[in-house]
Symmetry: C2
């Protein structure tokens, strides 16, 4: 099944979700280019499933990336360019963030048959 | 620790996340009142931790609600008023959605010490 635009694919569980909730600092320098580069690089990683991202006008956003295994997301965390992006995020772009790693156990989509 | 506005609390894992990604249909009748009522009702349920919600101008949103146990989220799914809201969501408000239930295994917040 082709995923709907803006939605990540729905493979059979289990797999992993990284839920990143953030509030931007208002400092934008370098952010857009880095975010685009990270999206491109993440999509190249082994075990990458997809990503969902929504931001509102207040600078709050939720990003959920999906990975086939824990190992895949650990490897992504360790990619050098991504490590730099994380550091810049801490230093510059985010006022606050939370990151949660979760194992997806059930999943479905809708509406169907309405 | 008091949670930051817009962020759910960060209890020690494990606990559960319900990741609901949706695209609205453009049909708004009754949606806002129901959403508010569901927020209020969810917060009263045993085992509720908190919720994070971001919507953009295109009608795409990600809602992540957090629950202490699987039982707590199953109970919430079965609450009668919530069942009605789910049905109206299917029939009326959503063009597409995905729902994933995931067990949170690690979590942290930042930036700290910058």
């Amino acid at each position: 099944m082709t995923p709907v635009e803006g939605f990540a694919p729905l493979p059979d569980p289990p797999y992993y979700a990284v839920i990143f909730t953030s509030l931007r600092s208002g400092e934008d320098e370098g952010y857009a280019a880095m975010a685009e580069e990270m999206d491109r690089l993440a999509a190249e990683q082994p075990g990458y499933i997809g990503v969902e991202f929504v931001r509102n006008q207040g600078g709050q956003s939720i990003t959920v990336s999906y990975w086939r295994t824990q190992e895949a997301l650990q490897n992504w965390k360790a990619v050098a360019a991504h490590t730099l992006a994380q550091q810049l995020g801490k230093d510059r772009w985010y006022r606050h963030y939370t990151l949660r790693v979760a194992r997806v156990e059930r999943a479905y989509s809708g509406p169907e048959g309405r």
